[in-house]
């Protein structure tokens, strides 16, 4: 099928990064995760020469890379976005970001200032998110068939959140529109943002082809009824992408979040598999879906880390791909992933999180 682009939901471990390959050696990058290599390795591998748009949804390190608690630690953890800027400083057309006080302190904020003072970046290339009541365009293809829109932050109260202890509440929600279909990149958005979107849409559900699950399938600030509302009213995705690491201390993805969506969506694809789905993770390498097709954080070789030598970075679907085709958006390799899950269930005799019947969901981990 003829395609004009490819969206990669990059397996960066416990983080979020999406790359939209536009052809002609151009790409759009949405967040950079916290992996030291990706997405720079991926962009260099595909010989990307121009970044049309770099989106930094919010300042948390699993999206913007690094850790900004102290200046010393900034260097130790690294900053993948700063790494992108070093490589592409004269080849980035626009940078969209939430301009909170943390952003300026981070290596990426400092490096942006350094580039501006050196003349490698012009102020008009910087596009801080603004509070409006309507979506606004960040990028559009030359034929007008594909566009990237910012749905949130909305209203001044969202942007004010970023100076509180909750940058998530000002996390950008980005929508890719292509020939009448959509992919929603929800970053670490909160219920309040979705309630505002729902209200401004005239109380209509947002239908989309694919959704990146907020908070990597973790709990947002709210109650179970907020979660049920979100899954039933706010958004209706065909495919859910959960960007999660095998070894994560947050017990992501949370069973109650998966349960809320599993009956309402056709397919849930996690980038990496966790112990919630299988104990013997080493036997699943290179991937539950069978193979690693795209550059990713997951390892095909044995990787045991930590004092207890637990498996790390075992791919479930790995880096997930969606093609932008003439008829809309097609998420690839779903069949192989389903077959992989079927094989895993048959071998272990235990259903995975995305296949557990509702009444057999494990108790909520508090």
């Amino acid at each position: 099928m003829n395609a004009v682009g490819r969206v990669l939901f990059v397996d960066v471990g416990q983080g979020s990064c999406q790359v939209i390959l536009l052809g002609d050696n151009r790409a759009i990058v949405i967040d950079a995760g916290c992996s030291p290599d990706l997405p720079l390795r991926l962009l260099a591998f595909y010989q990307i020469r121009t970044i049309e748009l770099l989106v930094i949804s919010h300042s948390h390190d699993d999206h913007a890379g690094g850790a900004a608690k102290s200046r010393k630690k900034q260097w130790r953890k690294g900053d993948p976005i700063a790494g992108l800027l070093v490589q592409y400083r004269r080849a980035i057309n626009r940078i969209a970001y939430v301009a909170d006080s943390e952003f300026v302190k981070r290596p990426v904020g400092q490096y942006l200032l350094h580039l501006m003072k050196a003349g490698d970046l012009r102020p008009e290339q910087l596009v801080p998110f603004v509070a409006t009541d309507t979506p606004y365009g960040l990028w559009r293809s030359t034929d007008g068939e594909t566009a990237l829109a910012a749905l949130s932050p909305l209203g001044g109260h969202h942007l004010q959140e970023h100076d509180s202890s909750n940058p998530n509440a000002s996390s950008a929600i980005i929508e890719l529109r292509h020939r009448g279909q959509k992919i929603v990149f929800a970053a670490d958005s909160e219920y309040q943002q979705w309630r505002d979107i729902y209200r401004l849409r005239g109380d209509r559900t947002l239908n989309c082809k694919a959704l990146t699950m907020p908070h990597h399938g973790g709990l947002m600030q709210g109650t179970q009824s907020d979660l049920d509302w979100f899954a039933s009213k706010a958004i209706s995705p065909e495919v859910i992408v959960v960007s999660v690491a095998t070894k994560n201390s947050h017990y992501h993805p949370r069973p109650e979040v998966i349960q809320a969506f599993s009956s309402r969506t056709s397919h849930i694809m996690c980038t990496q598999v966790t112990e919630q789905c299988c104990i013997d993770l080493e036997s699943l390498r290179p991937a539950v879906s069978g193979s690693l097709r795209f550059p990713c954080r997951s390892s095909a070789k044995t990787l045991l880390t930590g004092k207890k030598k637990r498996s790390a970075h075992v791919a479930c679907a790995g880096t997930i791909s969606a093609l932008l085709v003439e008829t809309g958006i097609a998420v690839e390799h779903q069949h192989e992933h389903r077959q992989g899950i079927d094989r895993l269930i048959a071998e272990t005799g235990k259903p995975t999180l995305c296949r557990i019947p509702t009444d057999e969901m494990p108790n909520v981990i508090s």
Binding site: D24, N25, R41, H114, P135
Partner: protein, 250 residues
Amino acid sequence: MIIHIEKQPRIEFPSVAEILPFHEFNVTSWNRTYLYEDPSQLVINRFIVGDVEYVPNHVLVANYEPPVGGVQARFIVAELHSLRGLMEDIEFVGRGASLKASKLDWSMQVDTAIQRLFAKQDFERTSSEEKLWRGLGRFFDLNSIRYSIPLKIRAYGTLESIRGHRYIVRWLDSGRVNRLNRKDIPSAMVSFRCGQPFEAVVIRNARDFKLIGIESVFATSSLPRSTDEDASLLSKPVYDPAKYPTLDWE
């Protein structure tokens, strides 16, 4: 006990001189090894173009036609020659004044075809390019070749310390530390003091991003601490928000 061994009939091969009238050989028989001693037919099990090593999936047999009467020599691998015409300017026929030149020309054509395909995403390929990709994929493990090509990337780092003859470098993008020997670093770095930030062109492994070497460095200034005025540069949009193109909800 007498064991009778039946003699195998002698197989008469035509002499090389009958096949190749341009060369004179003193031959009395044709045996298997002569195929490889015959400069008109060569086996290719690997070749290198620039920084890329190409190892075919199976040994390729090439035919060499020496220059005759002003016509250049030709170097052809019949299996690959069938892919001619699928990419502009690529015939998979090496031409030159000698065996060496024509073989080089052929290997450059293979390299050009593969590298041009690598530079395109799979969804960008035309139907003939897709055919060429599949065709070349029968002879070469294209994925392995792609991963074997080292990545040249610009990076920002700091020379943290020098311990004996070891230079300890920390990179901004990954936070990783590399302990490098003198032979791994450019000469310009030897005069750096501890704490010196620099920009460099580094060579990294495409598969695991490990550092292979540093091609060049130049010293830069440290990233400045931001002031309130700097913060305002980032937080105040140059654009008037009213000028952001508004879209509807659908």
